[in-house]
């Protein structure tokens, strides 16, 4: 199985082919145990939240992760932040093992990977002023204290994300949702990170404000050479901002490739169904697009199907799918990585 990005780029020019790999994730696994009993807790099973996810992220690149609720995308974010410890697998940050570092060294590395949360209403402490919220990282990382003083740096950051630096003493409730998300972004940027994990950063915002925040994220990326992992359930948003896209289903990557490959020639049946289900804001397309309506709901991650996890809802499934877990790899006729025995391009459902 090849994860080298150059090996699957036939036909698609990859501007990041030679860029430095900032994050190298291999076979990441996280299962949450399910227990029974009050005094003597017995393990009766496990929720397989993330089950063998591998990818690389390069400097200046945006990797979008799409998936429905329960697909494990937020658990993946927590693992990459080391807010949760994985059961197995490895994460290397610029060649350094991120999972085994401890103490002072971990604190230093933590600075380089930051996160922006989904809900700007609950992720900011209502009793702290904006200056305190954005300045807090400097209190924890004393050696990263800016030479010009914390307050001046916070004002700079406010200006950078398009907020008025004079509002440094205001409290979160005095800002709108979009402005609060900008505060979250400023806090994420405070320690000059290399990687920012954006966990549904625009999902809670109105459409007209969503565009403002997405443009800001793009500007900051260009200016500071940031790499993003952009997690979202909205496929249009992910396409807009991402260079490469990974599609998750029940804790595994179903398909991984450049956005052109994923959106114009999806090869995994799940990606095809997902794309065909997205309503397009153009009434003239009504009835002209092939729509694959999946039956039922995704199975529980506590009891995933054997073999391919999508097989219970898949129209292509055969006996082989129940027995053999399909690997995420380049398959005949396609250039992206797909975890399906019968992966084949389907342009009928492509989003042009």
């Amino acid at each position: 199985m090849s994860l080298n990005p150059q090996s699957h780029t036939t036909g698609v020019v990859d501007p990041f082919a030679d860029a430095e790999v900032v994050l190298d994730v291999k076979d990441l696994v996280k299962h949450y145990p399910l227990t029974q009993g009050v005094v003597f807790q017995k393990k009766v099973g496990a929720v397989q939240a993330v089950d063998g996810v591998s990818f690389q992220l390069r400097k200046g690149e945006t990797l979008g992760i799409v998936g429905e609720s329960g697909s494990g995308k937020s658990t993946l974010a927590k693992l990459l932040m080391r807010l949760e410890d994985p059961d197995s697998g490895s994460v290397a940050f610029k060649g350094q093992d991120f999972l085994s570092v401890k103490g002072e060294e971990l604190r230093r590395l933590r600075r380089k990977i930051q996160i922006i949360f989904q809900d700007p209403y609950t992720s900011l402490n209502p009793r702290m002023s904006v200056g305190d919220i954005i300045g807090e990282p400097f209190k924890l990382h004393k050696d990263a204290r800016p030479a010009q003083g914390i307050r001046n740096r916070v004002k700079e950051l406010l200006d950078l994300v398009g907020l008025n630096p004079d509002h440094i003493n205001r409290y979160p409730h005095q800002f709108s949702g979009g402005q609060r998300q900008r505060i979250g972004i400023a806090r994420g940027l405070a320690l000059n990170p290399d990687v920012i994990i954006c966990d549904e950063p625009v999902s809670a915002l109105d459409v007209s404000v969503q565009a403002q925040v997405m443009n800001l994220l793009e500007d900051l990326q260009k200016e500071m050479g940031l790499s993003y992992i952009f997690i979202a359930h909205d496929l249009s948003v992910v396409r807009h901002i991402s260079d490469r896209v990974g599609v998750m289903y029940l804790g595994k990557l179903a398909e991984l490739g450049h956005d052109e490959e994923i959106y114009s020639a999806p090869a995994h049946p799940y990606t095809q169904a997902l794309l065909s289900a997205v309503p397009v804001p153009d009434p003239t397309q009504r009835g002209h697009r092939q729509q694959i309506v999946l039956k039922g709901d995704p199975p529980s991650p506590a009891n995933p199907p054997s073999g391919c996890r999508f097989r219970t809802r898949c129209w292509k499934a055969t006996d082989r799918c129940a027995e053999e877990v399909p690997e995420l790899m380049v398959r005949p006729g396609i250039t992206q990585l797909a975890a399906c025995h019968y992966a084949a391009q389907n342009e009928d459902v492509a989003a042009e």
């Binding site: 609720s69 007209s208 565009a211 804001p281």
Partner: protein, 344 residues
């Protein structure tokens, strides 16, 4: 002010110059400021707007479930088959609610009673409104659950709401809403809390049921994609007023309002990556402190002194297409040109 009727006869539902405000100690919020629309049988009207635009308040006012106080209906009429709901007696109105006009809410989990089985909740509709006996009502509940596509309905009729997935719960809400065969169904963000693959299932179900019962459907949403997929006509709301209303094909091809234009340009498209999004600058005005002129003027790239001084009325630009903008003709010509270019 009445809309040109495309379908003959008295409309099923007609809202005329509806005004609603919320009064509190800190001031008066103008939630709805002159809302007008008509709905015919079998038709789907989408009310599109961002949070705070007044779309949900419109739905609550039609249903008669607006909290009063703090809400006050300060003007207008809501005509159901020519009869004004707002002046009707409470007893009569309660009979209409559920029987003739019913509603689906966004969050099915918090709209269903968590301590009662779903079958009981669906059957309640028949017991209360139709005077059915328990057994008959239960049989009806099972029948409805099958109709909305809940597998093993016979077995699951005594399950509680938390035992169902999000999509299934929304189906149960739909079953309750269509139980008494209403003429008007109001769906307030019915798929916002659902995943896309499940959203497609639920929207498909709603469309089928609408066709089968020839219902008038009011779809309240912020999603321009869902609207393009199912609506016949649209009313775009901003800060409590209708900015533009027209046939769905017309509005996406040739908008006559800068707000609609801005919305359409600011959404990322799944069928085309790359280009920078054209965001609408600024924020909607607070409802307690509305600008004197056009509510969109502080964010509008076409705004002039006229716009800040005088509030534009909703007027007809071409037959069936209304816009509340002083420069509607100009915007209309601009976007018509843009569409021609895109086609060429």
């Amino acid at each position: 002010m009445t809309e040109t009727t495309t379908t003959s006869g008295t409309p099923l539902l007609e809202v005329r110059n509806l005004e609603v405000e919320f009064r509190s100690k800190t001031g008066v919020a103008q939630a709805i400021n002159g809302m007008n629309f008509t709905l015919h049988a079998g038709e789907t009207l989408a009310i599109l707007g961002e949070s705070g635009s007044g779309k949900s308040v419109t739905a609550q006012t039609i249903m008669g479930i607006l909290d009063m106080p703090p809400g006050h209906i300060t003007g207008g009429q809501i005509l159901y088959r020519g009869e004004d709901l707002l002046t009707m007696g409470e007893e009569k109105r309660r009979k209409l609610r559920g029987m003739n006009i019913s509603m689906i809410f966004q969050d099915a989990l918090s709209s269903l009673n968590p301590v009662l089985p779903v079958g009981w909740q669906i059957a309640e509709m028949f017991r209360v409104h139709r005077g059915f006996k328990r057994k008959e009502a239960r049989a009806k509940a099972v029948e409805l659950m099958q109709k909305v596509g809940i597998p093993a309905a016979e077995k699951r009729v005594w399950d509680f709401p938390h035992q169902f997935s999000g999509g299934m719960r929304q189906r149960i809400m739909i079953a309750m809403a269509i139980a008494l065969d209403p003429d008007v169904l109001i769906a307030d963000e019915p798929t916002t809390a659902l995943d896309v693959t499940v959203q497609a299932q639920v929207m498909g179900l709603l469309k089928d049921l609408q066709a089968e019962h020839n219902m008038g459907l009011i779809l309240i949403t912020h999603d321009l994609g869902v609207v393009a997929d199912v609506a016949d006509k649209i009313a775009v709301m901003y800060a409590g007023r209708v900015m533009e209303s027209a046939d769905v094909f017309e509005i996406y091809a040739r908008t006559a309002n800068p707000y609609t234009k801005g919305l359409l340009e600011s959404i990322p498209r799944i069928d085309g990556a790359g280009e920078r999004l054209r965001a609408i600058p600024g924020l909607p005005p607070p409802l307690t402190d509305m600008p004197a002129g056009c509510p969109f003027s502080p964010r509008c790239e076409f705004a002039t002194e006229l716009c800040t001084a005088e509030r534009p009325a909703l007027r007809e630009i071409v037959p069936g297409h209304r816009s509340a903008c002083h420069y509607a003709e100009k915007i209309y010509a601009m976007s018509a040109e843009g569409t021609e270019e895109a086609r060429a």
